[in-house]
Symmetry: C2
DNA sequence: CCTACCGATCGGTAGG
DNA sequence: CCTACCGATCGGTAGG
C-alpha cells in the first residue's frame, strides 16, 4: 500500500477487461499483494456503483472470483476494506498530482497556469477511467470511524497543501476575489460535484471542464 | 403532500423539541396527515445522518414513537418513504425559492442581484436548520428507482428554470465567462458541496457564503 | 483461501 | 396502528 498502484488511469481498464483471468505468475510474481489489490479495486468499483452499505462482501468476493468468506483473509472487516480504498485513493491522487506538477514545471510558475494544472489533474483524479477511489472517499466518508477520518484528513491536507499558496497568490493579485478559505471550499465543491453528473460518453472533455472552471473562478486580466 | 409543510426553516426545530408529545388534537385536527409528516421528517433526519441503507425502518418508527411494523401502514416500502422525503424537499424548495424572489422583487431585476437572492436562498434550502430533505435528495439518489429519478428531475428542472435566464443574462453581459451549461453545473456543485462541510456552529454565516460565492463567480465590473 | 456455519438484523406482512 | 412473525441476507468466524 505504500507504493501506489500504477496510474489507475490506464491500468484499471485493462484489468477490468479480464476479471476472470487468474493472476499470471510470470517470473517470481507473488500473488499476495495482487489479490489484495484486486479486492481493493473491485470494492472501489462496487462501493461507487451501489454504495458501501448496499454492497455485500459477497459481491466483492464474487467480483474477484473468491468464496464469500475469503475477503476476510485479506481484510479484517468490511470497514477496513473501505478504508483501504480511500487511503489508496488519496495516496494515488497525491502522487498523480505531484507528477502533473513536475511535468508542467518547465516554466509554469505563474499562479493561473498552476491552478489550471491542479484543476485539470483533479478532474482526472475524479473522472478518469477506473478512478473510483476518490469518489468513494468523497461520498462514503460517513461509514468510516473518526480515527480513520482523521488519518484521511491528513492525506487530504497534504493534497490541498499544494493548492493553498496558488490560491493565495491569485487572491493577492486580484484574480480571485472571494475569501481564500471559502474560495477553496467552493472550488473543490464545484470540482468534486462533477463526479455526480459527468458522463464520459457525452460531449464535454476534461479539458473543457478545466477551461470552464478557470473561466468561472478567475477574474479577467484588466 | 401537495401543500408544502410550513417553512421547514422555522417549523422543524420546534417539532424536534418535543418528539415524545403525542399530537395535540386541538379542534378537528386530523391525525392522519400529521403522522405521515412526522415519519417523513424523522426519516429525513436519519437518512441524512446515517444514510438510507444504514437507517432501518425500525429506527424511523422509534423516532416517532411507533412500533417496528407501523411505518408500513403509512408507506408501502422504505423506498417510498425515501422518495417522499425527496419529493417533499423539492416541492418545499421550489416554494421557498418562489417566496424569496417575490420578496425581493421590489426593484431587483438586475441579474447580479437576482443571482444573489437565488444563491442565498439555495444555501438556506441546503443548510437551514432542519432542512435535511434536499441533502438527502442530493446524496441518496442512488437508492431510488429510475422512474422516481425521472419525476424528481422534473421538479429539479422547475427549480433550475429560474436560474437559467439569470445565468444567461450574466453570461451575455460578460459577468460570467464560462460556458452557460457548465457554469450552472459548476456553480450548483460549489453550493451543494457545502452540505458536506458547513458547520452552523462555526464562524461563517449563510450571508458570508453567499458573498463569497458571488465574488468567486462574477467578473468584477470593469 | 475454501467449507460450513452462526447470530443478528432487516424489510415487510397477516390478522386483528 | 400493534402483535407476532417470516424469509432473506449479511458480516464474520472456526477449522481445515
Amino acid at each position: 500500500m505504500d507504493k501506489p498502484v500504477a496510474r489507475a488511469t490506464d491500468a484499471d481498464t485493462a484489468a477490468a477487461k479480464r476479471p476472470r483471468g487468474r493472476p499470471r505468475k510470470t517470473l517470481g510474481e507473488r500473488d499476495d499483494g495482487n489479490r489484495r489489490v484486486e479486492l481493493i479495486r473491485a470494492a472501489a468499483r462496487l462501493f461507487r456503483k451501489k454504495g458501501f452499505d448496499a454492497t455485500s462482501t459477497r459481491d466483492i468476493a464474487a467480483a474477484v472470483g473468491m468464496q464469500s468468506g475469503s475477503p476476510f483473509y485479506h481484510f479484517k472487516s468490511k470497514g477496513a476494506l473501505l478504508y483501504a480504498v480511500m487511503e489508496e485513493g488519496m495516496r494515488s491522487a497525491i502522487a498523480q498530482q505531484g507528477r502533473a506538477l513536475q511535468k508542467e514545471e518547465q516554466e509554469t510558475t505563474d499562479p493561473p497556469g498552476l491552478l489550471r494544472v491542479l484543476i485539470r489533474n483533479h478532474f482526472d483524479v475524479l473522472l478518469g477511467p477506473g478512478n473510483d477511489f476518490i469518489p468513494v472517499m468523497l461520498y462514503e466518508s460517513r461509514a468510516i470511524t473518526p480515527r480513520q477520518r482523521g488519518l484521511l484528513a491528513q492525506l487530504q491536507s497534504e493534497y490541498e497543501s499544494v493548492w493553498t499558496p496558488v490560491l493565495a497568490a491569485l487572491q493577492a493579485s486580484g484574480r480571485i476575489r472571494a475569501d481564500a478559505k471559502l474560495a477553496r471550499l467552493l472550488i473543490f465543491g464545484a470540482l468534486n460535484w462533477s463526479a455526480q453528473w459527468f458522463d464520459r460518453r457525452q460531449s464535454a472533455t476534461l479539458d473543457d471542464l478545466a477551461d470552464a472552471a478557470l473561466a468561472l473562478f478567475l477574474q479577467e486580466i484588466p
